[in-house]
């Protein structure tokens, strides 16, 4: 009994490693939300009129909405007037290269182990670093430009490619979609934009690191990825945030569009925002809307996520399978401990013929963590020959946590096939003792078992992310021997 309990205690008591605050001058507006604030944000960003119009429509629509309460999560009501809706680090001068970036910020990235200098020299990962709300540095843009790939901050895209933004912004997640998407649409401050032209295979993994840094700042990121016919892109998103007492709201929107035949977008996330302390105090509220649209025939959108942070996660990366033979995938690991709550899953909407989707969800609950899988598989009448396979596995560590599964399946076509498998298991004392008896300490045994449980999902991550994900779960690397 006690060995297993000790492990859980250790798990639970692990301090958040990334709890530090960067001391950078910040340009912050007063807390609160109104039409004036929306106008101010738009003006600060020097946006064209269509953007302001869109933001205002979103804001007015948001006013008519009520915060959703259907999710399996409990938290005190959020005071939206207490949040700050715009904060940007003040650059000391116009930035031309990394050398000019605030050294404090660079130090922050060093602490996170994602130093831009290093990144630049190494693996060919282009990094668009978002600190608070404004992109600070973009690397590799020249190399990308050679291939006609646009990869820049959202603000820059609004200035340089307004026609693309106007055409695609909100085309997958309209501002009317839900409460948090409407809020984001009204006040989003920055994010990333990516455009891959016809037939181009993006020569490197694109990567963004988000970080919430100003106390009491709601952060509203917006990512838009548009890939033309036959294009391929792999996009990585990694998140760490410093330690804060107040709960911080994060409501991002990510839109993916696979336009033509055989277009492929792969989107991977590793999220380890501050989960709150061991008594459930503090932590990020992560209420995100992520959706992709497979418009072209045989196009493919693949979501992979490793969610280990945030006090509350509310997130359902989804795929609209519109093109015939298009493919949607969702691979997820969600870990909750202490008082963390995660309600996450996916929606696969089959519209085109012979569309296929795969859902692999792994939920790990420890401490008093609550983990819910919520997924919808919808096969419309038009989707003849559509197929779905879903697998939802839950792993419990200790006896105070919970796992919940809410699968919604809606099939309107008789020629389609839907499979759903689910399992719940517990790390048993017998398993721990067996490992101990072979010389493996309890913490290592737990890591080994958790890592094994998540293997199917880690396999989907790009190499450098898989390593980070395994580290994040406190897991020793599982070798591929044999």
């Amino acid at each position: 009994m006690s060995t297993a309990t000790d492990t859980i205690e250790e798990f639970v008591n692990k301090e958040y490693q990334y709890g530090f605050v960067t001391d950078v001058e910040t340009d912050t507006i007063k807390p609160g939300l109104s039409e004036d604030v929306v106008r101010l944000i738009s003006a600060k960003k020097n946006e064209p009129p269509f953007m302001l119009e869109w933001r205002l429509k979103a804001y007015r629509h948001w006013l008519t909405l009520k915060e959703p309460t259907w999710q399996q999560a409990h938290y005190p009501p959020i005071d939206y007037q207490a949040s700050i809706y715009y904060a940007a680090p003040k650059p000391k001068k116009v930035l031309g290269s990394l050398d000019e970036v605030d050294p404090e910020l660079l130090k922050t990235f060093d602490k996170l182990g994602i130093s831009l200098n290093e990144q630049k020299r190494l693996t060919g990962v282009a990094v668009d670093a978002v600190v608070d709300s404004v992109s600070v540095a973009t690397t590799f843009s020249k190399e990308l430009a050679k291939h006609g790939v646009i990869f820049c901050s959202f603000s820059e895209a609004v200035q340089k490619h307004p026609e693309l933004i106007e055409k695609y912004l909100g085309s997958v997640v309209p501002y009317t979609d839900n409460f948090f998407a409407a809020l984001n649409s009204a006040v989003f401050s920055d994010g990333s934009f990516c455009y891959i032209p016809k037939g181009v295979r993006c020569p490197m993994e694109l990567s963004t690191y988000f970080r919430i840094n100003t106390a009491n700042t709601g952060q509203f990121e917006r990512t838009l990825i548009v890939a033309e016919e036959g294009a391929y892109v792999s996009y990585l998103e990694g998140c760490t945030a410093p330690m804060r007492d107040e709960n911080q709201l994060h409501a991002a929107v990510v839109e993916l569009i696979a336009l033509g035949t055989k277009t492929e977008i792969k989107y991977s996330t590793v999220q380890n925002w501050y989960p709150g302390d061991k008594n459930g105090k503090g932590g990020i509220y992560n209420f995100v809307t992520k959706r992709g649209k497979c418009l072209g025939a045989s196009s493919k959108i693949s979501w992979t996520q490793v969610e280990t942070g945030s006090a509350i996660t509310w997130k359902y990366p989804s795929v609209l399978l519109q093109g015939d033979n298009s493919v949607g995938e969702f691979y997820s690991v969600a870990l909750t401990n202490n008082y963390q709550q995660a309600d996450t899953g996916t929606k696969m909407i089959h519209i085109g013929k012979n569309t296929r989707s795969t859902i692999i969800s792994k939920g790990i609950s420890a401490g008093r963590g609550q983990n819910s899988y919520r997924g919808q598989v919808k096969i419309l009448k038009s989707a003849s020959g559509a197929r779905n396979f879903s697998q939802c596995d839950s792993l419990l560590v200790g006896d105070k946590c919970g796992a919940h599964t809410f699968p919604y399946i809606e099939v309107k076509n008789t020629s389609s096939q839907v499979e759903h498998e689910a399992s719940t298991s517990k790390i048993g004392e017998d398993q721990i003792f067996y490992c101990n008896q072979r010389g493996i300490a309890t913490q290592d045994a737990v890591n080994m078992i958790v890592n094994g449980f998540c293997k199917e999902v880690f396999r989907e991550l790009p190499m450098e992310f898989a390593v980070e994900a395994q580290k994040l779960l406190g897991v020793s690397l599982e070798g591929s021997v044999g």
Partner: protein, 255 residues
């Protein structure tokens, strides 16, 4: 080198309020094979579990020294690294954890503890290949998760295979013969016999004499009602096979 490998003195233990072991005395020297036999419920598996350090038992008296050190004070993983190996009666399945990875981690923990360099994947595979032949195990088993979906016989052979890789100083075989057909039994016994070394010892716990046709013990102990009631040579096992346990336990049951 006259220090015994294992020295159990007056060991008393139980669960909650039930006393199971009522004063066990047993000394094992390097190079010896000991068999502990006894009817169901006599405390055989409890003895194995306590030596390996399984949680949930109250130790109420006595001492256990392993190479002169207090074994009962050590965490189970430390005992394993020191060279105490338990072949489980019911090997545990660990889904998702690759057998090769598991065993490599285990071996490297043992090597680290002994101040030896860790083996890399290639060196480890070489060790494994040699030992697999010994147990006539299919290499495919190593690609599967630990014990997951193994047959009863495969699980038992896998235990002895792990023992072969880890080279323990004291191997405790807890009813390794149960659930094995005669062919598997021979393979397991042959494996165990080949693993005998002058500097190590084996403690074979069994209900039936059958296994002892193949693993020849130096000493046979009869455990009954939490105590060793008789100790003899290998012929004692044969006598038990012939006459059953009653003739030994009768006087103790009456007492």
């Amino acid at each position: 080198m006259n220090q015994p490998l294992l020295e159990i003195k007056n060991l008393q233990a139980g669960v909650e309020n039930k006393q199971i072991l009522k004063g066990i005395n047993l000394t094992i020297n390097a190079g010896e094979v000991h068999a502990v036999m006894g009817p169901n419920g006599s405390g055989k598996s409890t003895l194995a579990a306590i030596l390996a350090g399984r949680d949930g038992y109250d130790i109420t008296g006595g001492t256990v020294l392993f190479r002169g050190q207090d074994l009962l004070e050590m965490d189970p993983e430390v005992r394993a690294r020191e060279g105490v190996f338990l072949a489980f009666q019911y090997p545990v399945e660990i889904p998702g954890v690759n057998s090769t990875y598991f065993l490599k981690a285990a071996l490297n923990e043992v090597r680290k503890h002994r101040g030896l360099p860790e083996l890399d994947a290639l060196e480890f595979l070489q060790v494994v290949k040699d030992k697999m032949k010994l147990l006539e195990l299919n290499e495919d088993l190593l690609k599967r998760p630990v014990n997951a979906g193994f047959s009863g016989g495969e699980k038992k052979r896998n235990e002895i295979f792990q023992m072969a890789v880890l080279e323990p100083a004291l191997a405790i075989l807890d009813e390794t013969d149960s659930g094995l057909d005669i062919d598997a039994l021979k393979i397991v016994a042959t494996g165990v016999n080949r693993l005998k070394r002058p500097d190590s010892a084996q403690l074979v716990i069994t209900h039936y004499q059958r296994l002892l046709d193949y693993i020849i013990p130096d000493f046979v102990h009869v455990l009954y009602n939490g105590q060793i009631v008789r100790t003899g040579g290998k012929e004692l096992a044969l006598e038990l096979e012939e006459k059953g346990y009653d003739w030994i336990i009768q006087p103790h049951a009456a007492a």
